[in-house]
Symmetry: C2
């Protein structure tokens, strides 16, 4: 049996794929879906994320985004959902190179709320515009599909954008999904497959003869298995010798009677980056702070202030919206911003952690790596790379 | 029997005083203590409030503040609380002209959390400073005890104030209380006296032969009495012909491990006024917006943004604090900003409403007016003044 430690979007996805393969699995989590997956905005945006990262992560992101439509379709079917919001694209649609296509007539806000209308990255000042231009050149070199837009063209796409927006980049292939619906669907799918869910905290690994053979639980007891998959996100570093640290993110959900935006919008304001993700049900997600604060998950006055200030700057109309929800989550950060996926080096222990800001995007790829379907990309995520450092 | 419509701080205070006088009373409210009293900061600050109002309201406020210590002491005794946080001042203490004295050794945060350490009104720019100087001259003329302070003196009193504070006015007699503890104590005191509380919404008044004889309830039924006291706050205008309108206020509670302030601080920032009220239990209340939005009680992105922006400007250290609570309440506003207290003109109907921003401060005076103890001040609040207008 495989013991999956962690019931976030990564752990649940791994459990679900393994269960579909006919393997016996058990999931351990005191409160499934309540960690970083609960806070996450759900951007599936490897292209616009290029701003903040390097080529290896882009490769992982693009590969995982291509897997999302099939992943979503299978998950929706397994969970008994009527629709995913998207059909899995058998052939490439001309406007969306990664093959996501909106299902004709699929009502927004149903299913997983998976949407593929692209990300618009906007610039305010001349400096921002120059940085965006450089980024566009870099993306061209990588062969990524992006379109340069003037301020007027940005506002034609998104009329609620601030008049001071000077220009933008459209990444038409970027998509997004509602992570809370994904974890709910995964839990339903697992339940329908009879996968046991142990609602307890794993406090340590059980070692026998140099191998990991299970986990200890709080307040007592243990679960044993042939293999332990550590998918405990920011808490992974407390259970095994893996360099994962918590990176705090505060994120806000606004409620909009009319949708203010038709796609994800992001921008740099006063040097800090903010993004706005519209949901089919009228929710508008505003994220997110990035703070090195250890395991602190307090929503602070300063965090809220930054989000509100930057969101207002980007889309002034947000001031009228109701504040529905504010939470802080802990991303599992790694030294090189790449996830840690695969055999740990200790027999019986496998890692599926360190996804930082990309757990939702990278969940399908993570399952594929663990099932041996992506050997080349698996090398980028191999846990062994950190052993060389120490 | 008296039927009190409204279980906020005013309605409950009236019911409690009447019950203490031996009168049979019944209180009607679907959710006592959940309206404006739940949102209120609890400033008992008639002097610093002079900024925003006129002489009649100042007279009411000062008279009611003088009643607060005895009111609090009796309430604490009746509710079985150990301490009010203050002793009722039998003689005037030299530094607090209204006679509030901190009980020696009274632990902060217990009882009603009544404190009398004054309000500090601060100015940022030269214009603010000039306005504060004018206000000080006006207060001198009224004989109100205020002290002019330099920026350095302000920071000596409150070291967490922003370095850009240029000067201030200290109103040493101003006090504050925790309104949620006051309504809780009132509910306990009423329960101990056996006063019935009907948890239902009053939807209309019962009229017979030109007199009010009770109220109709939702979902059905009625309560009859010799006298109906309308203390329904912002909802009063829907039940009787009294010119009360809702004035929305959004207010935030922050949680502070160490107290940032030792007294109430207020200031004008970018032309909008903000105040910070420290509680004994480490809570820091930041208030409040004033919005004419009808019966809307949504917490909005814009409201939160204003509060956070202005609080940061006044006390930069708030950014580190946890956001514990954000609510919107509806103040009962009147055309002249004075409350409406006394016989309505219709037999059987008495008003105790329209307290706008001053319900907590004016509760003791309101009960005194209704019990015939304050005939001169009663004239200022007489409902008849609006009949002359129409």
């Amino acid at each position: 049996m495989d013991v999956i430690v962690g019931g976030g979007v990564v752990g649940l996805s791994v459990a679900w794929r393994l269960a579909r393969e006919g393997r016996p699995v058990t999931v351990i989590d005191p409160a499934p879906g309540s960690g970083a997956s609960h806070a996450a905005a759900g951007m599936l945006a490897p292209v616009s994320e290029v701003t903040y990262t390097e080529a290896p992560l882009l490769r992982l992101g693009v590969a995982s985004l291509r897997r999302w439509p099939a992943f979503a379709a299978e998950l929706a079917a397994d969970a008994g959902l009527g629709t995913t919001g998207l059909e899995a694209g058998g052939q490439e649609s001309p406007e969306h190179a990664v093959g996501l296509r909106l299902a004709p007539g699929a009502p927004p806000g149903r299913g997983l709320d998976l949407r593929a209308d692209g990300t618009l990255d906007v610039a305010f000042g001349a400096d921002d515009l120059a940085a965006l231009e450089e980024l566009a050149a870099f993306m061209d070199k990588l062969g990524l599909p992006v379109e340069r837009l003037t301020g007027r063209e940005c506002r034609r796409l998104e009329p609620m954008l601030a008049p001071s927006v000077r220009g933008g980049l459209l990444a038409p292939d970027d998509a997004w999904v509602n992570p809370r619906r994904v974890t709910a669907a995964l839990l339903t799918a697992l339940e329908r497959r009879g996968v046991p869910l142990v609602r307890a905290r794993a406090t340590g690994l059980l070692h026998e003869d140099g191998a990991v053979v299970g986990v200890r639980l709080e307040p007592g007891g243990e679960v044993r298995g042939e293999r332990v998959v550590l998918a405990a996100g920011a808490w992974s570093g407390g259970l095994a010798d893996v360099p994962v640290r918590p990176v705090k993110g505060q994120i806000m959900r606004l409620r909009s009677p009319q949708p203010l935006l038709s796609r994800c919008v992001r921008g740099a304001v006063h040097g800090s980056s903010v993004y706005l993700v519209p949901r089919g049900d009228g929710e508008l997600v505003v994220g997110a702070t990035q703070e090195e604060m250890g395991f602190d998950t307090k929503v602070t006055a300063g965090g809220l202030y930054e989000l509100l200030r930057d969101a207002r700057e980007l889309v002034p109309g947000v001031t009228e919206l109701e504040v529905a929800d504010v939470v802080a989550g802990l991303r599992p950060g790694t030294p090189d911003n790449l996830p840690v996926i695969g055999p740990s080096g200790t027999p019986g222990l496998v890692y599926a952690t360190g996804h930082h800001r990309g757990g939702v995007l990278l969940a399908p790829l993570t399952t594929a790596i663990l099932l041996g379907e992506e050997s080349e990309l698996a090398a980028l995520c191999a846990p062994g790379r950190f052993r060389d450092l120490s």
